[in-house]
């Protein structure tokens, strides 16, 4: 390529890629710099590790890390766990399969806040679940199900919202596996589980990794489900970050933001490695 071609290419990439790099690069840079005391909005800017060391001593911060990791990993695992059998079932079209697929993917069209509201309606103190349980005589009176301390509500919401996305990725990958390969495995005596373990799972590693990582990153950074349906005595990292920002504590918010990004990268790498190891029957390569 001549310098003219490079110049033309640079000019073409500038409004799209250029803006993305400048904008996201600035956001990440400001977050990292502020976590070390720089770019102060309300005082002296000076390099310092103080914000990190103070944050490590905070119980709320350490609990938020544990809680966000729990929600992230559990949501990713549950979404893929429910999506996998459905993807295998919907691998080949049959009468009604398109309708099923559409119904299963419907939550993708529902905004997260609306999903949270719908869920809260169902499990509220006088909601449907309480009414049914009392009607069946299982419970004597209504139970408080909203904002449960184990974040079951948040996990249900995350799975409801993310399972269709995992399904979308997995169906594409599982459908691409040729019938000949599966028939050959069956002819060699492999039962349904063996076919899944030895053929389908290793051939859909990439889609599983993508699904796990995407759901994990989204759930790790969850704010709205946590605020509406999550436990009141725990905070997610996003919630903690918004809390610090609300009080103008930008450096503390930056420490949480950098933690969130770091955990996102580390957790994604771990999920990708572990899923590859398990689905390939104990081999990484």
């Amino acid at each position: 390529m001549t310098w003219r071609s490079w110049l033309k290419l640079g000019l073409l990439l500038a409004p799209g890629l250029g803006l993305i790099l400048v904008f996201i690069g600035s956001v990440v840079y400001i977050a990292i710099a502020q976590s070390f005391g720089l770019f102060s909005l309300s005082g002296e800017s000076e390099f310092s590790l103080e914000y990190w060391s103070r944050m490590f001593e905070r119980l709320t911060y350490n609990r938020a890390i544990g809680y966000s990791l729990y929600v992230g990993f559990a949501s990713a695992f549950l979404a893929v766990l429910f999506a996998y059998p459905l993807a295998v079932w919907l691998r080949r079209p049959f009468p009604g399969s398109l309708t099923i697929s559409a119904v299963l993917k419907a939550p993708l069209l529902v905004h997260g806040l609306v999903a949270a509201f719908l869920y809260v309606n169902i499990i509220s103190y006088h909601g449907l679940v309480n009414q049914i349980m009392q009607g069946l005589g299982i419970w004597d009176g209504p139970h408080r199900l909203q904002n449960d301390s184990r974040a079951i509500g948040v996990l249900i919401l995350q799975t409801w919202k993310n399972m269709p996305f995992a399904l979308l990725l997995l169906v594409g990958s599982v459908s691409a596996i040729s019938d000949d390969v599966l028939d050959a495995a069956a002819d060699l005596g492999a039962g349904p589980f063996a076919r899944f373990r030895r053929v389908i799972a290793p051939l859909s590693v990439s889609a599983t990794q993508a699904a796990l990582v995407i759901v994990f990153v989204g759930a790790l950074a969850d704010f709205s489900f946590q605020v509406i349906a999550g436990p009141v005595n725990k905070q997610s990292l996003s919630q903690l970050m918004v809390f610090f920002k609300g009080y103008g504590r930008w450096h503390d918010a930056a420490v949480v933001a950098v933690t969130l990004m770091g955990l996102g990268i580390a957790g994604s790498a771990l999920l990708a490695l572990v899923s590859r190891f398990i689905l390939r029957g104990g081999r990484l390569s």
Binding site: A14, G16, Q131, A254, M261
Partner: protein, 275 residues
């Protein structure tokens, strides 16, 4: 048990799940939005004792719903047009030019989707404060949304550019068409479904976006999701939240279904009427 029978059983099981999954939650939301305040819906009633559109009218007249809808429906089309305009040159480069490092560029374009939304929102606000631009919130959110949704626009449009047929461009050139005319007859017909899909997907994502609208817009600039969030938190009144939820979700579902049809029909050979 044959595969057909198994499918039938699973189909019915899934039908039951679908009722729990979608029908019941939305029916309850619709019923709550119709509860008349003269007779509240108490646990001893299966259905609201009195139903009316009072809440819809009340919210329209006495809350910031009108402002939120105006803001959202002004913002979303503006974001869609700005994003498409910004995405076109990069999409052209990715779709029509072969250059070293193209795969890296394709990956870098996805960066806005990797950084958590609230991190982007909070530290974008920090940048706005430092630049002294935090007063014009509409512009700030418009700018942030445009960049946030660039990955979708670039991806869709680069695929559209890839599918523009070289023989159509060459034929137009051989017949003496100028650059403008070549775009008109060879590029635009093939790009049309991609352009429509981009405009629609960015419009929907912008209407639904919460983190940036909440952090950058607070407290003065309200959109439909931020209004819903307020109504689900400190100001929780169930019938009001039901009305806003339905206002947020119903138009978007219809638009999404339309989008799916558009993406399916995004066959350049068909749309250009040739090939």
């Amino acid at each position: 048990m044959t595969r057909l029978n198994l499918n039938k059983i699973l189909l019915w099981a899934l039908f039951g799940l679908c009722v729990i999954w979608l029908v019941i939650p939305f029916t309850i939301a619709i019923l709550w939005s119709l509860v008349d305040p003269s007779q509240p819906w108490t646990p001893d009633h299966l259905l609201p004792p009195s139903m009316s559109f009072y809440r819809w009218g009340y919210l329209w007249a006495h809350s910031s719903l009108k402002i939120a809808m105006f803001n959202s429906y002004m913002l979303a089309p503006s974001v869609a047009i700005v994003t498409l305009t910004l995405a076109m040159p990069t999409a052209y480069a990715l779709g029509r030019i072969n250059f070293p490092g193209k795969e890296v560029v394709k990956l870098l374009v996805l960066l806005p989707l990797v950084v958590p939304g609230f991190v982007t929102a909070i530290f974008f606000t920090a940048i706005l404060f430092q630049l002294g631009l935090n007063a014009w919130r509409f512009g700030a959110i418009l700018f942030a949304h445009s960049i946030l949704f660039l990955p979708y626009a670039i991806r869709i449009m680069s695929v559209s550019f890839e599918t523009v047929r070289q023989d159509h461009i060459d034929a137009a050139r051989d017949l003496g068409a100028s650059t403008f005319e070549r775009w008109k007859v060879a590029y635009i017909p093939a790009l049309k479904p991609g352009i429509m899909a981009t405009l629609l997907i960015v419009f929907i994502y912008s209407i639904e976006e919460f983190a940036i609208a909440f952090i950058v817009g607070s407290p003065n600039f309200t959109t439909i999701p931020t209004l819903l969030f307020t109504n689900l938190g400190a100001n929780f009144i169930r019938p009001n939240a039901a009305v806003i939820s339905l206002i947020l979700v119903v138009p978007n579902v219809i638009l999404m279904l339309f989008l799916e049809r558009l993406l399916r029909s995004a066959n350049p050979a068909l749309s250009s009427g040739k090939g």
